[in-house]
Structure formats: structure tokens, C-alpha cells
Symmetry: D2
Subunit: 334 residues, 4 copies
């Protein structure tokens, strides 16, 4: 059974809006960052990673965002183009903003952290007037990411984009992607996350992210059923709540819930798991696959990325995912 | 025919959220403010004035807002209580904010202006967590005012209040009350006004205010029919577009439009016309009167206030309005 | 003995830089401001009051400052001109700043307070580039006021003005005039007050103001001798430390200290005492009077102002001061 | 002839205050940064580099600054300690500030640029109250760097430090180190640079930096003699004006001017030339060498650093500098 259906005649499969930044990944890993002497540069940012993933899976994609008018910004624009992602609505900042940075620290495969540079970043300077209604009108699926709601004017750009996406009948995905910096308070976060979620068809997030959205609600047991049920009164068709290693659960507006198995991995670091899961899962949904199959595809995609050094660069092709599933099923990867 | 219906068993007729401030009205009028030497102090702010008007019309009312921790704030709290307005959710600021001020200049009855002090004002510091869900749950009608959307955290407080009002089935009124200061850009204004208006049952504003909301829409002729029609796809039952002296027009979700006559006045100043119109009109709606009768009552109320020196203090009682209508109809006021 | 001498051939006796604002004085006094219904408007701000005082004492004066581009600003400019104060270097703000306000509350002659509006005020927006070197070059005496150091760019304007005043040999007066709002911290205040004081010939302040300047110094007993002595190592010739009703003490760079009697007054309110003292005292200094006689003249001037409703408007003429001294000496005022 | 003399009995040769940050130097050079994929991390910041240089030349040194409470901050603290630089007055920020970053781009040996991250940086959060008077009291020479004047509260910390340095008789050096970001305007820069320079014994800067300081002065021909002469009326003993490849000129308060030869170099990049010149030159001054010999030692030190990949790490020892001079003089380096 499919829960969402897509306009066949739209030219773009997938458009996302939000954060474009730079990951600076530690080259010398399994040690504290104090002892890391060199870093390698990659394009990063959750919605960027998901879009790169979708593109690598053969989807026609485009991005809406803002980049700094400097070497980092130009590197990002160039990377998008080299990966076949439409960048005509990637606006160049003229206010002196910088590119967001994420220095990754990998103390061990299970002890990873990020040192973020998020002051005066270009991605949060996208304005509502810079969002292309035409581009969104061409998209079958449209994804927003919570971080883009963290500050004006990007916050307004996202709400305006949601308005366009709804008006033109795109399937709207909300990747919660909550990061505490930049936000003024948890109350502020909860208000805008809820306002945005009301308008979305598919909501993806961790249990902790949904908890944050329930700051004003009554769900003392952090019950997934209660959490998911709220959204079917609005626009939601699918709500996916992720529980890390314990797997995730997808609720649908017919009252059903769905689980799928996860896959083993030789973990290098945990970064990028959510983004690769999202691109794999959404790819499956767009193919009309069952939720279970889509979730499985997402899980395998996540296992591939966390076995690699980068996030964006490691996003797999369809064959890589299928091979990985096959290798796991045949016991080659355990 | 009535377009909205109210829960009979709720204890409060009317609750509003938003701006509480001080008007400093020129005592020596019909001259530029440079030549005015003394000013008289009144409670002001559009939603405050409307609530005072509703209270004077015999309705049970309460207010949700924030006041400065100073003499001006205490004067406001005291005035609300003396006027029978529930002030238990009027929070006292602890951050050193000040009370908003509006110095009025009356050069002539038709040439009036306001000098505003809106930096660091207490009313815009109300937070989402300070809004009482219990209070909103008791309200038959709940009014928001656009100015409260101008800045965080008040903006979030309004959206949270809208959530509560919708959850508890209040009839929600949006008095657009657009003031350009405080807002960062017209785009920002349009985005949040539209997000809020989607959730409201009754929308009241001037043609210029609706124009501002259509910054991203296509309505080149500023056509009222086009403007009103948009909102019936969301929650709206009644949309009132005001055209100053040329009167106003009320659209309803059955496709009808309604006009009503206005009344003569010995105009002292134009301030307060909109607020007294709103309280008179909404009073009529709450009594189950026809739109025409409600609009007439609002118009008479407005004529009374613009014939007086103050706004809040001049808000009329039912008998004053009925007498005024009678005096106009009998030719005593021309 | 005279401690400072003035260039005879300079055309202006006195130029000041800094705060120009509006006092809104309670008309109904001897009650809390909550019960005051009307206010009267006056020009205010410590350096403005002192300059008005100097002008009323027959000195040729000019002011350097910035006013809001509104009715309050125009009232101030007009008042200066009507009082014979050169306003060619009173710049009009173009950034949307407002005029600072001071609502006075007079609960009793000895229990007075001020409610200040100091957010986004025009006077603190004066820039270094807007200060006229030519004007300062014409001044025999040049006065700065501590409040103008509270924030950039006014802070830089004051330091640039000090540079010009020193370069052109004006006698520089520092009226400490410390107000805690606007400043970020006491440390910040102390640093800039000290930097400015190093360049001044005459320093006037209350004991509490000098205490604030000694945040990083060692003067645990708040000893006036210790306080004054520091400044004679820099540029100071006269340091006046005021102790409210207990009178004030003037130190001079020859190691002497000077006291003078104070005068009785039928006190209406305490505001303006310091400003009128300063203008009277500095007038005496400019006439070459002894310190004792100058202090006496300042004290009588202060007694006149605190017996009146306003500050600026009540600044006395020479004859008024002399009459007041005579009336006190003859027992008519006790 | 020596122009400055040092207290023999102070335990520290050299203390500096100001910027501590991270350089991220492109590993793949001679190309635009867009094509650089990896970066190597070094401690950076002009006063940090000079202090590292002084330490490598065998001087007893300490630093006054503020570091972020993160991995970058801890790396800096650790590096200082490993280099024998006293870090007891290197304060850890608790406000969530980040470490300043400088990504270097080396397109060619003569076409180098820096991409700066200076928003919300820890080094500009040092407060006046955090500066240790005791530490400054122990210093023979004390250096300030202009960048630390760019913003409050670091600006106040520098002025307070200057007060302590003057009080305790340190020889005060001002390395102008002007960087346009962070500053609000050139006027603001000029005012504070001049205020600080008045208190300094040795002033070092490029012609362009001195031009910036003369925003309010009259020196239309950018004449070095005019520039230098101003400062001898204040505290200056030596003023060094640098003209890039054309060499530099040192003025002294006896009216003399001094030039010294520069040295050839196999230039990798131009960064760090000024810092290594400063440490070499100041080392010579502290040894009582002539200006010519000190300048030569500084020039050779600069040539060594610009022949290397890093700034801080490449700071030479005495023997390295002497060898370099010898190699140049003997024609081994041309």
C-alpha cells in the first residue's frame, strides 16, 4: 500500500531547502580533536546531504539555499553542480556572511562529536523573497529541514516555501534535524517546529526531536503512538520516529505502524546516518515501495555511510545499496 | 443569519492578547506637537482598547500581555482591574523593558499622527510559556492583534495562543493592526500575518493592511473579492475590509458580502476609530446580530470615540451607542 | 588665586557635547507617578541644562549633539536657538532614533525618581566625524558629560572632541553625570571614565561617581584626598567632589582644598541641582573668581532650581542668583 | 644608542595581550582555496605569533587572552605551554564563544589571502577585570595588538592593561595589526588606535595602518616624517613604519630615522612576515642592540618565516636567524 502519491508530470523528483555548509573531517581519528592536526573538507548540512543522496540514487534534484560569497561558498556551488543538483536557486549572500562549519571529532566509532561554527552563516540569510515558487512548483517531493527554521530570515523563507509547496501539491517532507545552537529557547523551537509540521506529509525525526516538539504537550511517557497520532489531524500521512540502534517505527494515517530491520556496519563514525537513511527511505517512497522496503533501503544506505569517512561523498548509488543488502543477507557483512 | 457560534458554557466572553501601552495625548491640540507643552496619559494599544470597549459593553473579558515593572506598567494593570478586565495573565517583565508610548499629535481633525516609542517594550517580551492555556480555554471569543507578531518572543506567544484557542474551540479574531516599525521587512510581515490568518475565524483590516499581506500574492487591482476569497479556504467565516471614510465591506464564507452605513461625527481626531469599530462590531456578532446591524453598531461606536480626546477612556457603553444611533437617525447629530 | 586661565581671543565662552533630551515633569506632584495624569515637556539632559544655565548667565555658548528627526527633536533645536545657544553642530539623526525621555516622579521633595527611556536614542548616535573641530577651536571652556561615553558611536565622538579641545587649548570640564542604564558593566564605565578624565582640567562629580571610577583602584575608605590626588598627575587643575547635602569639596593642583557654604531652599524636587551648581560654579571660574565664591554662586543657583518645577527652564540669571544670595544672607530665605 | 631601557629586576621579558586563534593552512598550495581539500591546524593570531617568536628566541614570556571552552581552545592552551609561554592569564570563555579561524589561501607566493572567521570569537571577550595587574607588573616589555581594540569588552581589557603597564613602567609596544572586519567604521578604529598609541613607547605598523589612524589628521602626502613626529609629543620613543618590500623606516624621539637592509627569501607565502619581523626586532631592542641591527635581525626572521608553510611553528631560534644572515651575507641564499 502506498500512502502518498506524486504528480507524474513534474520535471523534478526532489527539491530541498536549507543548510549548505562545510564539514571539516578529522583525518587522524580515534583521538580527541586537540590531537588532530589535519582536516579534510566536504560539503555538508543535513538537507544538502539528503539531496546529494537522492541525486546519487538517480533522482532529478535541485536545492534552494544561500552560500557565502567566498571560496567555501564557491566550492559548495561547484560540488552541487558536479553532482547534478540544480543550483539555480542557490543564492549568493552579499552581506558578508560566512559558510557554516562542522569540525568532526571521532574519538571512537561510538564517541563522535561536532564543533560547530554557526554565527553569521549564509544559509540562515535566505529570505522569503528569494525562494523560487517556479522551482517548487516543479517538484514532486519537497523537503525542509528544522535547522533552517532557527533564525530569521531563513525561517520565513521556509514558511514561504511550505506555502508554495502546498499550493502546488508537492509531497512535503519535514526532516526535524534539531540542533540546539542558534535557537533562542526550546519554547521558540517547539512553536515553529509545530507550525511547520502541521503542513507536512511526511515527518522524520528521532524520539528526542519529537520530545522537543512536545514542550507544550502532554506526553509524559514519550509515547510514540501519542506523538504520531497528533499529526494525522493535520496533513501527515507518514510519521517516522527513530530510536537510534533500536531501529525506527513508521506510523501511517490508516492507524498502522511499521518496522523494518537494520543492517550491520563496520562503523567509522555515526555522522550522516540520519541523512543517508532519509535519502534511502524517501527514494523508496518515491518508487512506490512498501514502507518496510523503503525503511530497509534507508537502513542499508545509513550503514554504508557510517562505514565511511565522509557523509556527502559517501552517499551510495542504488547498486551500492542493493549490493550491501545482498552482502548482509548472505552473511558477507556481519 | 449567523456565521459563527459560541460555546454557551464558557465563562469569559472575550479574551485578547498583545499590546498594552500608554497614549500620551496632546492637551493643546490643532497645532504641531512641537508647540504642545502638556500631555495626558491613557492606557492604549489596539487590543487593549478593544478589550476595554468590550468590557464597557458589558462583556466578561480578560487580557494576556506583559507590562513593564515600573510606574507605567502598574498604571496599566490598575486601569485594567478598575475596568473589570481579568489581568491574571498580564505578566510583569523582569528584564528591564519599558512600556510602549504613543505621543499623539493632532494638527487638525483630519491631520493626526503618532510618535511611537517601541524599542525594548515589555509587550513584545511575552513568551509562549507565559500564555495561560486555561484562560484561553474559558474564552468564547479570542482576539489577536498583528503588532504582537512583530518580534520574538511575543510572536511565538501569539502562535501558541492560537494553538490553544483552536484546540479549545474559541472563535478567533485577527485584528490586523499593522504598524511598520519593529518589523524587519514587509516580507517578514506578510509571512507571519498569513500564517496567523490561516487559523482565524474573523479577519478585520484596512485595504492597506490586506495589501501588505499579499506581498507574495497576485492581486494587482487590490480587489476585495480576491482578497477575501483566499481566506475561506482556511478557517475564515467573516472577512471585513475597511476603506476609511468610504466604509467597510464584510465578506462571509457563503459567498455574500455586506455593507452598512456609517455615522456622522464631530471629529476631534481619527485615532481609536478602528478599535472602537472592532469592539462594537464584535459585540454585535457575539449577540447573534446580523452583520449589517453589527457593522452599524461598530460604526456608531467609532463615531463616538473620534469625537473624544482619548481612545480607551472614551469607549462607549451600550446605551451611549444606542443613543448616538438614535441621535443620528433623528437628525440631532449631523 | 586662579587655577585655570582662558584664551581671551576665542569667540565662544562655553561649548558642551552630549545628551539632549526631553523631561516630562509630573504636573500633579507629591504622589506616585501611577497617579500622575499629565506631564509637562521641557528640554533636558545634564550638559544641555548646564549650557542653558551658562547662556542664561550671559555666556556665549554652543552645543554639539544629535537630535531625533521628529517633533521632539525639532522642539529641542528650537529651544536652544530661542535661548541663544549655537546649534549649528546639533546634527539631525537619519537612522530612526528617538529622543531620550525622562519622566519625573516627585513623591515628596526628598523622594524623587526618574523613569528613563534611553533605548535607540539620538544623542548616543553622534559620530566622531560629525564633531566640528572648528567649533571646539572657538571655545574657551569645553564640557563633556559622562553619559555620552555610554555607547558607541557617541563614545568615540567624545574622545575625538577631547582631542580637538586639547589641541586648541580649551579648558576641559568633565561632568561625571553617571547613569547606570546604557552601560554594559561597571568595568566598562570605569575604563572610559578614567581614559576621559586623564585629559580634563576640571572634574566634577559626586562621591558615588568617583567611587565608580575607582573600580580598579585601591581606595577602600572612599577618601576624597586619595581620589583627587590621582588626577593631578594627569591634566587636572581642579577636582570637585560633591557630597549632597553635606556640601562639596574642591581640590586644586597646589595641594589645597576648598569648601563653601550652601544655601537654604524651599525644595520642590532634587532634580537639576547638579546641573545648576555646575553652571554657576563654572561661570564663577570663568570670571576669575575664587573657588569659594564660585562654589557659593553654584550653590545658590542650585537652590533656585530645586525650588522650581523644571530644570532647564528654571536656570537663573546673574541677578536672580545674586538676589537669592542676598535674600539668604539677609534672612529672607531660611 | 638605546632609546628605551628596561627594569632589570622584572622576572618576565615579554608579555602580550590579545588574539589567540587557529590558522588552517592549505596543504595543497599554489591554487585557489576552492581546490584545496585539506588544511593543517596551527596556533595563530599576531600577538600570539610574536610571543611564540620571543619565546623561541629565549625570552621569558607570558600571554593574556581568552580561549574558547572547546577542543580548539584547549589545543591553543596546550601549545602555549609546550612553547614555554606562561598561560596563567589565558582565561577560558564560558559564554559559548568560538575560536577565531584563519583559512589561508596560497594561490602563489605573492598572491595570498585569508578567509577569516571572527564572529563571536573568544579572544574579543576578555574583560578588563580579567586582566592580571600582577602579571603585567612583572613584564619588562608589554605588547598590545590593534585587533584586540576592535570590540568590547576586549577593547576595555586592552586599555586597562595599558594603564597597568604604564603604572608599572613596562616598555609598551603597539603592533598596529589592523584588520578591517569586526570594526564598525574607520572612524571608530582611528579614535581607539590613537587613544592607545598615545600611551605606547614603540609603535610598529605599515604605512596603510598609519594612514588609517590619520583619518582625522591632515597628512595628504602620507608623509612618514609627519606621521612619526606626532607620537613623540606623547609617549613614543620609536616609531617603525613598514613599506612592504621597499623596507621599513624607524624614527626615534631624537629626530633621527634609521633604515636597515632586508634579506632574500624563497617565498612560500607572505603571511607571518610582520609577526616574525616584530619578534626579531623587539628581541634586538631588548638586547640593547642598535636600531639597525635590530631591524636586520627582524628582517632575517621574517625571511625565514615566509619561506615556511606555517607562521607560529616556523618562528626561528637565535641560531637559525644568525645562520640565515650568515647564509645571505655569504651568498648561499640569494
Amino acid at each position: 500500500m502506498t500512502y502518498v502519491s506524486f504528480s507524474k508530470d513534474k520535471p523534478l523528483d526532489f527539491v530541498a531547502i536549507g543548510r549548505l555548509c562545510i564539514d571539516l573531517n578529522a583525518n587522524e581519528i580515534n583521538r580527541p580533536m586537540e590531537e588532530t592536526m589535519t582536516f579534510t573538507k566536504y560539503v555538508g548540512g543535513s538537507p544538502a546531504n539528503i539531496t546529494i543522496g537522492m541525486s546519487r540514487l538517480g533522482q532529478k534534484t535541485a536545492f534552494i539555499g544561500k552560500i557565502a560569497n567566498d571560496q567555501m561558498g564557491r566550492f559548495i556551488a561547484d560540488y552541487l553542480q558536479r553532482n547534478g543538483i540544480g543550483a539555480e536557486n542557490v543564492v549568493i549572500d552579499r552581506s558578508g556572511a560566512v559558510t557554516g562549519l562542522a569540525f568532526t571529532e571521532i574519538k571512537s566509532p561510538t564517541d563522535c562529536s561536532i564543533l560547530m561554527y554557526r554565527d553569521n552563516v549564509a544559509d540562515l540569510k535566505l529570505t522569503a523573497g528569494e525562494v523560487s515558487e517556479d522551482l517548487i512548483a516543479q517538484a514532486k517531493m519537497f523537503l525542509i529541514s528544522g535547522t533552517a527554521l532557527a533564525k530569521s530570515p531563513s525561517r520565513e523563507a521556509v514558511f514561504q516555501a511550505l506555502h508554495y509547496a502546498k499550493k502546488h501539491g508537492a509531497i512535503i517532507v519535514f526532516d526535524l534535524d534539531y540542533r540546539p545552537y542558534t535557537w533562542t529557547s526550546e519554547e521558540e523551537t517547539a512553536v515553529y517546529y509545530n507550525l511547520a509540521a502541521e503542513k507536512c506529509d511526511i515527518i522524520l525525526g528521532t524520539r528526542e526531536e519529537f520530545d522537543m516538539m512536545e514542550a507544550f504537550e502532554h506526553n509524559p511517557d514519550h509515547n510514540d503512538d501519542v506523538t504520531a497520532a497528533r499529526w494525522f489531524d493535520y496533513s501527515a500521512k507518514i510519521v517516522v520516529i527513530k530510536h537510534g540502534k533500536e531501529g525506527s517505527i513508521a506510523y501511517t494515517d490508516d492507524g498502522a505502524s511499521h518496522k523494518a530491520k537494520s543492517f550491520p556496519a563496520k562503523v567509522v563514525k555515526t555522522f550522516g546516518a540520519g541523512d543517508s537513511y532519509a535519502s534511502g527511505f524517501l527514494y523508496g517512497i518515491m518508487q512506490g515501495w512498501t514502507l518496510e522496503k523503503s525503511m530497509e533501503f534507508g537502513s542499508a544506505s545509513a550503514s554504508i555511510v557510517i562505514s565511511s569517512h565522509s557523509c556527502s561523498d559517501a552517499m551510495p548509488t542504488i547498486n551500492q545499496v542493493l549490493d550491501y543488502i545482498e552482502s548482509c543477507n548472505s552473511g558477507k557483512i556481519i
